[in-house]
């Protein structure tokens, strides 16, 4: 357990320091959200209606952008091989790395959401609903995205291939995340149903993501 905690601490430290690049995701999130009113037009009523969808889309793209750092940096300096050779099961190591990545790159997005909600003319309740669904939903994005990151690092291809592999898997999360936020803001459907499905998607990704990523690393790193 202490090994895993040490791994999480190490990953967070590396991500937050110079060259880590985790906080670039937040900057990207901000820029995507700012671009939207330019594209749609500064119609406040329309922005309020589209707000949850814009925030979710921005968070999805921002989390996709930072994903290839999940294994790539460790692979480049060789520490990924050392981690894979350690006594910890590779599945647990992958889960720990994904957790660290979410804490460093996913959580800042949620903290930034209230500020960005102001730009989109969302009231406090709506912002809270979007932040809550992001809090529950972004771990699913990180844990399913980890599969793509592991494939990309074993194939020495990142970037566009990673996006093409990961985006179809993230569609259900996007659908139910936006559905839950919309339900909380305007109804008429109940908030509970899509929110529970969103929780379920996250839980399923916690199970499948580490196993698939570990299998991919094992197959690819030999």
């Amino acid at each position: 357990m202490t090994t895993l905690a040490a791994l999480v601490r190490r990953d967070i430290r590396i991500a937050l320091r110079v060259g880590g690049g985790a906080l670039i995701g937040v900057l990207f999130f901000l820029i995507v959200v700012v671009l939207m009113p330019f594209a749609i037009g500064p119609d406040l009523a329309l922005l309020t209606r589209l707000g949850p969808a814009i925030l979710w889309l921005g968070a999805l793209l921002a989390s996709l952008l930072t994903l290839d750092r999940l294994f790539m940096a460790d692979h480049e300096d060789g520490s990924l091989d050392l981690i894979a050779m350690s006594r910890m099961p590779l599945e647990l190591t992958c889960a720990a790395k994904a957790l660290a990545h979410w804490l460093a790159a996913g959580l800042p997005l949620i903290i930034a959401t209230p500020v960005l909600g102001l730009l989109l003319n969302l009231d406090a309740g709506a912002t809270l609903a979007v932040a809550l669904t992001l809090l529950v939903g972004t771990p699913a994005l990180t844990f399913t995205g980890m599969i793509g990151a592991a494939l990309a690092v074993t194939l020495h291809r990142g970037g566009l291939l990673l996006a093409v592999l990961v985006l179809p898997l993230s569609i259900p999360v996007l659908i139910f995340g936006v559905a839950a936020s919309e339900a909380a803001i305007s109804g008429p459907l109940s908030f509970g149903t899509p929110f529970s499905i969103l929780c379920a998607l996250s839980l399923v990704s916690f199970v499948i993501g580490p196993f698939a990523a570990a299998a991919s690393l094992r197959q690819g790193l030999d």
């Binding site: 599969i147 494939l151 194939l155 291939l161 592999l165 898997l169 698939a212 299998a215």
Partner: protein, 263 residues
């Protein structure tokens, strides 16, 4: 294990006519090639005959009392939709073969199936869209069944991109196998999407508890077409696998030649 298979040159292998072929013999690419060379014409012939019968029956089928002649789109649409999921199932089994036994023939089977499955999925989407226009008044509707099949199509394309992105075939095979198994989660979602959500798409009417709700006049051509399309897939798949095996042999011969020349 592929390493323990006999490595006789392809020209010297003669299979006895009365030998007991087992599944494991098929795992040898050379035997696979010689066996499929014999059965492929028969498969192609059976496919052509069944397709002709199915198309004739579809054309002769009565018009639906509500849908008119457009109901005949079903005879193309439904087999394509079934096949789109069946092919991913075949690829998932091949993926297990790749990951568990690391067998090159499983790699070949998975790689050859992806473009065919993508084509079936694309045809299911297109025919469904053409059918939806007169029936629902729209080419496209963002409901659960349509969306999940569209995701399936995108995943086929992603898989094909993955195969093309990596030069080393066995490395690509292992990566694609993992992605295939993860994507297999989508299959039950597609199948049950019409039960779980309120959708415009009609619920299952052939494979359901309590027998099909489809009339016999429509059911028979549909089943014939389904068998014909399945045979079409098997024929195309085997042909594509043969091409892929030959392509890999050419590739390794070229690499041998290149290394000899440089040496």
């Amino acid at each position: 294990m592929p390493n323990q298979l006999p490595v006789t040159p392809a020209t010297t292998i003669r299979m006895p006519k009365d030998s007991n072929m087992t599944l494991i013999d098929l795992a040898n690419p050379t035997r696979f090639l010689s066996l499929t060379a014999r059965i492929l014409p028969w498969l192609a012939g059976a496919t052509a005959i069944l397709l002709a019968i199915g198309l004739y029956q579809s054309a002769m089928a009565p018009d639906d009392y509500q849908q008119g002649a457009t109901v005949k789109i079903m005879f193309i649409h439904v087999p394509n939709a079934w096949l789109s999921m069946f092919v991913w199932g075949v690829m998932s089994i091949a993926a297990l073969g790749t990951l568990v036994w690391r067998h090159p023939l499983a790699d070949v089977a998975a790689k050859a199936a992806a473009p065919i499955g993508a084509a079936f999925t694309f045809l299911a989407l297109v025919t469904g869209s053409l059918w939806g226009r007169p029936m629902w008044g729209t080419y496209w509707e963002w409901d659960a069944r349509l969306t999940s099949v569209l995701i399936l199509f995108l995943m086929y394309l992603g898989l094909m991109a993955l195969w093309r992105a990596v030069e080393d075939p066995s490395r690509a095979a292992r990566a694609a196998a993992i992605l295939t198994l993860v994507g297999a989660i989508n299959l039950p979602i597609i199948k049950f999407s019409v039960d779980w959500w309120n959708t415009l798409h009609q619920p299952a009417s052939v494979f359901r508890m309590g027998g099909p709700t489809l009339d016999r006049a429509f059911l028979m051509p549909l089943l014939v077409m389904a068998v014909a399309f399945s045979l079409l897939f098997i024929t195309l798949h085997i042909a594509a696998m043969r091409n892929e095996i030959l392509r890999r042999r050419v590739r390794s011969l070229q690499m041998m030649q290149a290394s000899q020349r440089s040496a």
